[in-house]
Every structure is written in structure tokens, then in C-alpha cells.
């Protein structure tokens, strides 16, 4: 009898086809563990991973923040956060066990004592697990503390544990200008190697954003049209129907350009325009995205006025409710020129896209909340229908909706029922939620798990983030230099009328 075939030594054939792949034993250290992001997103994401059995066999959590809390108080706070913000009703047993051994280190991010405590606690956790845990340091703090924490991690030798991996997860914004992003990269890369760095852009964790790649590269019908020969222009919209709320402190310094365009919207643009990668490994995907960013002509300061429009909302009515203008919001300086609306016209100067306008707009207090990419095709070269029949013929528009109502729709011309040949545009619609049984995980669940696995595909690389700032920096500089106030738009409207100038003749913004 021939001996049975055995798997090669050193492999683990048990993982094949498993939906939940193993993750190496990990300790997650959250800096800013009592902050809003941790409470609303990170701790609920950890719970949902635990609920589904997706956390590693050995998992430990350490929280750090300035608040004076005991371990027990931190655990109680974490449990309360999950109860309040989890996407599912928590299983109390799982919830209690998840945080039962969580540790808390109080202190400022610059305090040596914090990191000395971590250097003591981490080996204790290794000892308890019987294995050296991978370290994931999650920087969920204000951005000015990113370099402080990274330097401290380096100074206390926490970035290079023996027999395990250390990773650092850095929240957005990664810098507020190009120079700042470069300096931050320099600091981070003086302690960690690029493979250890996970710069979060939570948009990339959204299923529907990843679906842009599926739509393009898993379907043969789009690729032949996906170029300057067939596409007239692209509109990317990320609008919100709410104002800044209580975020004046952050928002008035950031503005719409930094808040959404530099990161999320440029990510959408690169996914839409990138060439097919050789495979979906982190570097192959990110190489292609960086090529797109490098092909985008960064405006000179003189060109900014022609390529951009900035706006600020005034008092108005959103969905039947009267709302104040930006300058009347709590905490906003009365002479603020911060933009709450930004629109840009960019071009991707490469063989595929040269000459195709890529227009982006984002804003607060607009008519509706929507994030979408609309690809408008060129009109048909000859309209065979005469008279009334020709009037309804419009260019096809492919719309990828990221939120809400995630899906894809295609506007096509169809004959109106009747005896005459009259055409009207109709919608072919695919709704993501109608076609799958599984519920999409929260973006942070996917991203935390990927970081623990060491898969950086959905994170922003150092050259990528610098290439993003390279496009945005001249716009910020020009806007800072001008004394002209932003264009005004009424809250609840479609945004400032001036934005129309970016599209040129015979094109119009889609209704928000």
C-alpha cells in the first residue's frame, strides 16, 4: 500500500478554504483609548471581531490616554462603548470576556512612564500567553501626537520585539501639508519599516469602495470603454447634509479639502483610474495607485483659481429644518475663510486618461448625503432617430454609489412605449444590499484585522500619501494666500453656483 500523501513540512494545510483565516497572537495598544474614535469605532469593531470568532487565539488589549482610570474603569468604559455603538446586540458573555483582562496605562503621550509601563506589561502578556504577541500600536489620537508617540515607541525599543512583529496603525490626517507629511513619514520610518506602517483611510475598508476594483477587474464589459476614447468626464461627489456640528475646533483648521479630498476622494479617483495590478498584493495595488497620483497634474498656484472652487454655507434649510450658516456655528471665528465646500477639476495625464476631466466635489450642509462616482460616456457618434426620437438620447452614465444605497446604476436610452420612436433615459440598477446575504462588516473591523495580519493592501503607503499632498498642497497655499472669501451657498442647496465653471460647456453637475 502506498503511503498517504502528506503536506510539505512547515505548511499548514488546515487553513485552506476556511472563511476565517488564523491571525497571529496579538496585543493591540490603543493610544487615545478613551477618545471618540475608540469608543464609537475601534472598541465596537473589536467586539464584533470577537463575536465572530475572528480575533487571534491569544489577544490582549491595552488602552492608553491621559484620563486617570484604573484597569477596571477602563474595562467598564469599553463595555459601555460596545453596548452603545456596536452594530449588533452584544453577547454579554463574549463582551465581558473580551475586556476582562484589558489593561490601562494612564498618562500623556510624551511621558516616559507610559512607555516604561508598556515595556513592562507587554512581556507579562507574552508570558501569560506562552507566545510572543505581535504588537499593534494604534494611534487614535490628535495628529500632533503621532510623531511624539512614534518617537517614544522607538526610544523604548517597542518597535522591534524579538520573535514577533510590531506594527503601527496611524489614523488620518497624515499631515496637514506636504512638508508635514514628509516629516511625519521620516519620523515614522526612522522607527518602523514601511511594511510595519498602516496608514488608515477608512474609506478603503468599505466594501463598496473595494467593489470599484471588482467592477472594473472582474467584468469584461467595462474595460474596453474605460479610457479617453469613450469616457467624457468623471464626477466624484462626497456630500453631507449636516453641518460641522460640534467639530468646529477641528474643522475650522482642516476644511473640506483636507477633511475629504486629500484622502478619501483621491483614493476613489485612483481606484477608478488605476491600471489592472498584476495581483492584489499590497505593493502591486499601491504601485498602480501611486502611478495615477503621479500622473495627476498638480496645479501651480496661478492655476488654482481656474481649477478649483471653494465655498462656505450660509443659513438655510436642510430637509425642512432651518440650519445656521457656518459662521454662526458654535466655535467658528466670525471671519473664518475655511471652506466647507471644495470642488476641483483634475486631469490624469497618461495614455488612458489624457484630456478627460475628473471633477471632484465635497461639502457640508448640502441637499443630500451621498458619495458616488459618476462616469459619463461620450455621446453616440450619430443619432439615427429623427425629430422627437433624437431628443431623448443622452450620454450613458455609469454611477457607482458608495453610500447610501451602495450599488451601481447605468443610465441607458430606451424606447418609450407607443407607436412613435421616442427615447428616454432609464436606469439599470444593481443594489449591493439586494444581492448578497452577508452584512458588510464595518470598515474598521476589516482594517484592524488586516493590520493584525500584516496585510497593507487597504492602507496608504508613504509615497502614496506624499503624492496626494503634492496635488493638494498648491491649492491650500493659494487659498491661504487669497483674501477673497469663499463663495457662499445656502445650506440645503447644491453648493455654490461657481462650481459649474469647472465643468466647461455642455456639462453639468449631477444633482446631489
Amino acid at each position: 500500500m502506498t503511503p498517504p500523501a502528506q503536506p510539505p513540512p512547515g505548511t499548514n494545510p488546515l487553513t485552506e478554504a476556511l472563511e476565517r483565516q488564523p491571525v497571529h497572537a496579538t496585543v493591540l495598544v490603543i493610544f487615545g483609548a478613551t477618545g471618540d474614535l475608540a469608543k464609537r469605532k475601534l472598541l465596537p469593531a473589536l467586539y464584533n471581531l470577537a463575536h465572530e470568532g475572528a480575533l487571534p487565539e491569544h489577544f490582549a488589549l491595552i488602552g492608553n490616554a491621559r484620563s486617570e482610570l484604573s484597569d477596571e474603569e477602563f474595562r467598564a468604559s469599553a463595555v459601555a462603548s460596545v453596548r452603545e455603538f456596536s452594530r449588533r446586540e452584544p453577547d454579554e458573555t463574549v463582551l465581558d470576556k473580551l475586556f476582562a483582562d484589558a489593561r490601562y496605562v494612564s498618562g500623556s503621550f510624551g511621558d516616559d512612564e507610559v512607555f516604561e509601563s508598556l515595556a513592562t506589561i507587554l512581556p507579562e502578556l507574552d508570558e501569560r500567553a506562552g507566545v510572543t504577541l505581535n504588537r499593534c500600536f494604534y494611534l487614535s489620537t490628535a495628529p500632533e501626537f503621532f510623531p511624539v508617540i512614534v518617537k517614544q515607541l522607538g526610544a523604548h525599543d517597542l518597535g522591534e520585539p524579538a520573535d514577533a512583529e510590531a506594527r503601527v496603525i496611524i489614523e488620518k490626517p497624515f499631515g496637514t501639508r506636504l512638508q508635514e507629511a514628509r516629516e511625519l513619514n521620516e519620523t515614522v520610518l526612522s522607527v518602523f519599516e514601511e511594511r510595519q506602517v498602516f496608514r488608515i483611510d477608512h474609506y478603503l475598508g468599505k466594501e463598496t469602495v473595494q467593489n470599484v476594483l471588482a467592477l472594473r477587474f472582474a467584468n469584461g464589459m467595462f474595460e474596453p470603454l474605460w479610457n479617453r476614447n469613450y469616457i467624457d468626464h468623471v464626477q466624484i461627489t462626497a456630500s453631507e447634509d449636516i453641518g460641522i456640528g460640534t467639530r468646529a475646533g477641528y474643522y475650522d483648521n482642516a476644511g473640506a479639502l483636507r477633511d475629504l479630498v486629500q484622502n478619501h476622494m483621491l483614493q476613489l479617483l485612483t481606484l477608478l483610474c488605476m491600471e489592472p495590478p498584476v495581483d492584489f498584493s499590497a505593493d502591486e495595488v499601491r504601485n498602480e495607485k501611486v502611478k495615477v497620483l503621479r500622473a495627476i497634474h498638480a496645479p501651480t498656484e496661478d492655476e488654482v483659481a481656474d481649477m478649483t472652487v471653494r465655498g462656505q454655507y450660509t443659513a438655510g434649510n436642510v430637509a425642512g429644518v432651518d440650519v445656521p450658516g457656518y459662521l454662526d456655528e458654535d466655535g467658528v471665528p466670525e471671519d473664518s475663510h475655511t471652506e466647507t465646500f471644495a470642488a476641483l477639476r483634475l486631469e490624469v495625464d497618461n495614455w488612458r486618461w489624457a484630456g478627460v476631466p475628473m471633477v471632484l466635489r465635497t461639502g457640508k450642509s448640502l441637499a443630500r448625503k451621498v458619495t458616488e462616482i459618476a462616469v459619463t460616456l461620450k455621446p453616440v457618434p450619430h443619432i439615427a432617430f429623427t425629430g422627437e426620437g433624437s431628443q431623448g438620447v443622452r450620454p450613458n452614465v455609469l454611477v457607482l454609489t458608495v453610500q447610501p444605497n451602495e450599488g451601481v446604476s447605468l443610465a441607458i436610452g430606451a424606447k418609450i412605449p407607443g407607436t412613435r420612436m421616442a427615447i428616454r433615459q432609464v436606469q439599470m440598477e444593481f443594489l449591493y444590499g439586494s444581492a448578497f446575504l452577508s452584512q458588510s462588516p464595518e470598515a474598521y473591523e476589516r482594517l484592524i484585522l488586516d493590520a493584525m495580519r500584516g496585510d497593507a493592501t487597504l492602507f496608504t503607503r508613504n509615497d502614496e500619501v506624499e503624492a496626494q499632498w503634492n496635488i493638494i498642497d498648491p491649492i491650500i497655499a493659494a487659498w491661504q494666500r487669497t483674501t477673497e472669501p469663499p463663495a457662499r451657498y445656502e445650506a440645503g442647496s447644491q453648493g455654490p453656483a461657481e462650481a459649474q465653471t469647472l465643468l466647461g460647456a455642455n456639462r453639468a453637475w449631477r444633482m446631489i
Binding site: P3, G10, L14, T15, G130
Partner: protein, 367 residues
């Protein structure tokens, strides 16, 4: 049978008829869906999966309850064929239910349920009745918890070699009193269609934990030194245990031999390249839900991994050669029986290539 299978349905549109035809039912369904969409364009028909459920009419309430509790994993169109002895006509009741009142700008899914009351005389031709009722181009799964083998066969392997109506069979190998017959039946079905076995899904968390435990590079060599595997299972879940061991045999290249029975205990061996692996399956006391209660894996090197069902996940204990022990909890919420059925429905769209070889190995152990 009650036809509202959604626990949170807030609005229904209903049609019913006696002595009707599949064509009339299909037309009524299309009309209901179109009317609801016209009434509010935010109502959108779900289009993920057809579920054909064949039930004995007298137990249809129990099946409706199970389907109602599957959580979010509802098929988009469920066709319930309720079989009554002696019935000569086809009656039908179609419901289009929406799960929530859509807010402006958002959509709400419509799920369709048709309960078709048929007689035993209709069963051999069930494919002809069901065919017009499933949404074309969607994957179709058949679930027949009360047997009705002829009906299942007619859907997955229609007479005359015509294209099958159902591509997937959802079943529970643990629900058969004769495990050997159950495995034979599943093997036969697996040659004709994809099979999603709830008995296999009950073993899945255990498979994931075992795979994860041996995944660190330093521990992988232990996989080649396993000398004994013991599985404790619910009294109705021998098949889940067999499938777990069958999976290990297939993945690790062991050749299992026929197990022998010692009272309630099943014992035997598998041949590996290094030698023999002792196999042991033992029923445990009464369990709250079907499935496994414990797995223990010993290696030649003296280490032991023991997993036990516990609150909030599995309790794991590792013993090293020197006797040093560590224990911990691997977190995970229990899915419960309704959750398992929901997982089964979800998995009909996620084929698992490791099931069939595990099944073959499990069957050979009971030969």
C-alpha cells in the same frame, strides 16, 4: 403554513388562490413585486438566492419557525412546497414582505415567499411546479428537512438529464438516525450538486480553532506528529465528529481505517507517513444544542491541545511535554440552532472545497 417568514416584516402584500397553476402563481408574484415598487420605489426586490423548502404539511409550522429565526440570512425568494397526503389540487399563497419602512432616499428589501400546497401525487413532478417559481439566474438551494428524497432528486437531477432546478442541497447529516445511511445519501447528492451540511458547519468553529492553534510557524511541524485525536459529540452529532476527523485525515494526508464500536464509543486508526494516529469518538451527555463538546489532539512530542465548549467561546488548554499547562478562552458567540440554519443558507453561496474529501474520509470510517 404561515407565509410570513421575516421576523421584522412591517408590511406585506398577499395573494392566494386555490386549485391554481405555477404560471398563475408566478404571474401573481411578479404583479405583487411590481405593485409594491410602484407604491414606493424604495421597495426593492432582493435578488440573492432562491430557497426551495419541501416540508410535510403537518410539520410546516415548525419549519416556518426555524426559517423565521435565521437572522439576516433570508433567501430572497422562498418557495415552500407543503406536501399533504391525498391532496389533488395545488393551492398557493404568495407574500411579498418588506423588512422596514424605508426612509426617504434609502431602500428596503422585499422578500418573497410562496407556500405551495401539493399532494404526494405531485412530488415526482415537483421540478415542473417549482421551475417557474424560482427567479431565473439566481442560485437555487433545496432544503427538505422531512426527507422527501424523490422531490429533492427531481430538483437536483431531473429525469431526462435536463438542467437541474437546484444547484445546492442544504441538509443536516446529523438529523438522520442512521449515520451510515446519512453519509451514503450525502455522498450521492454531492455527486450531483453542491452540498451544504449543517453537521459540517457545527464543526467549523472547531476546525478554525485547530487550524489557528497549529498555524504559528513554530507549531506547524507538530501537525506531522499527531498521534491521537479524540472528539466528544452530542448524542445526535456523531456525523459532525466524523467530519472533523475526516477533515483532519484529508488535510494531513492520513488514511483512515474503519472504526469499531465499543458500546457508545467508536475507535480506530488512521495511517500517516510517520505511523498510526489513534482516533476516538465518544458521545457526551445531553447538550443544549447539537454539535461537538470537546476535541483533544495529542502529539508524539507530548503536547496536548484540548478544546472544550464553553461560555463565550471555546476553552482551550495546552499541555506541554513537561506537564506545563496553559488555558485560555477563544472568543466567539454561540450561533445556536437558528444561527446554524442561517449560516447554512449563507454558505450555499460560499462553496467549501474541503467538505467533499472530508465527507469521503468520514464515510470510509463507518464502512
Amino acid at each position: 403554513m404561515e407565509d410570513d417568514l421575516s421576523p421584522t416584516a412591517v408590511s406585506d402584500a398577499v395573494w392566494s388562490a386555490q386549485d391554481t397553476t405555477p404560471a398563475a402563481i408566478e404571474a401573481a408574484l411578479s404583479t405583487l413585486v411590481a405593485e409594491r415598487h410602484r407604491e414606493n420605489e424604495c421597495y426593492v426586490a432582493a435578488r440573492a438566492l432562491n430557497l426551495v423548502c419541501i416540508v410535510d404539511a403537518q410539520f410546516s409550522g415548525e419549519v416556518a419557525n426555524r426559517l423565521r429565526r435565521v437572522g439576516r440570512y433570508h433567501a430572497s425568494r422562498t418557495v415552500v412546497c407543503s406536501v399533504s397526503p391525498g391532496r389533488a389540487t395545488i393551492d398557493a399563497r404568495a407574500t411579498v414582505a418588506s423588512e422596514a419602512d424605508p426612509r426617504p432616499g434609502e431602500f428596503s428589501l422585499m422578500r418573497e415567499t410562496v407556500v405551495v400546497s401539493v399532494g404526494e401525487r405531485h412530488v415526482p413532478h415537483l421540478a415542473r411546479i417549482v421551475d417557474p417559481l424560482v427567479v431565473t439566474d439566481l442560485s437555487t438551494v433545496v432544503w427538505s428537512p422531512h426527507g422527501n428524497r424523490a422531490a429533492v432528486d427531481s430538483l437536483v437531477a431531473p429525469a431526462g438529464g435536463t438542467r437541474p432546478i437546484a444547484q445546492t442541497v442544504l441538509l443536516d447529516s446529523a438529523s438522520e438516525p442512521d449515520q451510515r445511511a446519512a453519509l451514503d445519501r450525502v455522498c450521492t447528492l454531492a455527486q450531483r450538486a453542491a452540498v451544504v451540511d449543517l453537521g459540517w458547519l457545527r464543526a467549523t468553529p472547531w476546525r478554525e480553532r485547530v487550524a489557528a492553534h497549529y498555524d504559528p510557524a513554530g507549531r506547524r511541524p507538530e501537525l506531522g506528529t499527531i498521534s491521537k485525536v479524540s472528539v466528544r459529540h452530542g448524542s445526535d452529532s456523531l456525523v459532525s465528529g466524523l467530519l472533523l476527523i475526516g477533515w483532519l485525515c484529508d488535510r494531513l494526508g492520513w488514511r483512515p481505517e474503519q472504526l469499531t464500536r465499543h458500546g457508545d464509543l467508536l475507535r480506530g486508526r488512521a495511517r500517516s507517513r510517520r505511523g498510526e494516529v489513534e482516533l476516538r469518538l465518544e458521545p457526551t451527555g445531553i447538550m443544549r444544542v447539537p454539535g461537538l463538546s470537546g476535541v483533544e489532539i495529542r502529539s508524539d512530542l507530548g503536547s496536548v491541545l484540548a478544546l472544550e465548549r464553553g461560555e463565550g467561546g471555546l476553552t482551550a488548554r495546552r499541555t506541554e511535554r513537561g506537564g506545563e499547562q496553559r488555558s485560555w478562552t477563544v472568543l466567539g458567540a454561540s450561533r445556536g440552532e437558528p444561527g446554524i440554519l442561517g449560516e447554512g443558507i449563507r454558505h450555499t453561496l460560499l462553496p467549501d472545497a474541503t467538505y467533499a474529501p472530508a465527507l469521503a474520509a468520514a464515510r470510509s470510517m463507518l464502512a
